[in-house]
């Protein structure tokens, strides 16, 4: 009893110390090359949707909306990797866990609100119909 907690504690202390060693440089994995790569990717991923909307390249608005949303998602991932240096290892994976949790909440909030309010709007009695009654 007296020995085991002591070793466990030491191991934990070593572990925590290692973490700190990583913690010093965990947010700065970037190199000049990776920053430039992220920048050029973002420029391309920004320019294409702007060009598509400004020139009206897509005839169908819903196709255009889907395409530019896809570009936005890709660009967000690019920013996460090249600028925010996200990976599954930093802070023992806790940054990734927090991010996944946040994404789940964002998806529920956005899709839930838009879905519910869309149905509320379409099922609402038109003003003219209410006046006629």
């Amino acid at each position: 009893m007296t020995d085991r907690p002591a070793t466990a504690h030491d191991a934990h202390a070593d572990h925590a110390h290692d973490d700190h060693g990583h913690g010093d440089d965990h947010a700065s994995h970037g190199t000049r090359k990776s920053y430039l790569k992220g920048f050029f990717l973002s420029v391309i991923l920004t320019a294409i949707p702007f060009w598509a909307v400004m020139t009206g390249a897509f005839k169908d608005p819903s196709t255009a909306a889907l395409v530019i949303m896809l570009f936005a998602v890709i660009q967000i991932v690019v920013h996460m990797i090249y600028f925010l240096h996200m990976n599954g290892k930093s802070e023992n994976g806790w940054t990734m866990m927090a991010l996944i949790f946040t994404i789940i909440l964002v998806v529920i909030t956005l899709s839930g609100s838009i879905w519910v309010m869309y149905h509320l709007n379409t099922n609402m009695m038109p003003m003219q119909a209410a006046v006629d009654m």
């Binding site: 913690g23 700065s28 970037g30 920048f39 920004t46 702007f50 949303m69 925010l84 838009i114």
Partner: protein
């Protein structure tokens, strides 16, 4: 735990008082948890923007007979604005690289560029807002414009705060040099600045581009 034979006086075999939990907290080096804590803040900030996006998604088509997005949004201006924010992201990245190399003067120069791009972004946004309000498309005109000004304005406020923080840190670095505390603060601001850029991707896609498609 069951192997421990409790004696009546509450002492273990060696005569030490029994303890079932660690009495001393581990040693945490100063600032070792700052980055994770700041990330948690950014995630909660992300939720604020999520609700504002949801509000815009719901109210974005309620024009109340007023102007529609297609009539009032100037995409070339938004494109320039986006470019300003992108440039500020890469210059901040270069500032972080100079910080790691310990080259303070070059880092300060990159930070100054970042601040200027941030200021350019804010000026263009102010100009856009002023034009809209002047044209009678202010936040009180319709639910669409209320939610638009709230969402884009909240992002603009964040950039303003980031700019003030940036200037503060430049003064701090000038005064105290690249000490560990300043490096930590600069890394937090780096996350904050790039995070705002990520939010802006959502804004220009969801609000400006998709608004112009309708």
């Amino acid at each position: 735990m069951s192997s421990v034979s409790l004696k009546k006086d509450g002492l273990d075999e060696k005569g030490e008082p029994l303890s079932f939990y660690q009495l001393e907290e581990h040693h945490h080096p100063e600032g070792s948890s700052t980055m994770l804590g700041f990330w948690m803040y950014l995630m909660s900030d992300c939720l604020i923007f999520a609700v504002l996006f949801a509000a815009y998604g719901v109210l974005g088509t309620s024009y109340a007979g007023g102007p529609t997005p297609k009539e009032i949004f100037e995409l070339p201006l938004v494109a320039v604005n986006t470019a300003m924010l992108l440039f500020s992201s890469i210059t901040y990245g270069f500032a972080m690289l100079s910080m790691e190399e310990g080259r303070q003067r070059i880092m300060q120069m990159w930070l100054a560029f970042t601040g200027l791009f941030g200021l350019a972004f804010l000026s263009i946004e102010m100009y856009e807002f002023a034009t809209l309000i002047h044209e009678g498309a202010g936040p009180t005109r319709s639910a669409f414009l209320s939610s638009f000004f709230t969402l884009v304005g909240t992002h603009g406020l964040h950039v303003t705060m980031g700019f003030i923080w940036l200037v503060t840190l430049m003064v701090q670095v000038q005064k105290h040099g690249l000490i560990a505390a300043n490096k930590r603060r600069l890394m937090c601001l780096s996350m904050f600045w790039h995070f705002l850029d990520v939010i802006w991707i959502g804004v220009f896609t969801f609000v400006y581009l998709m608004g112009s498609l309708r």
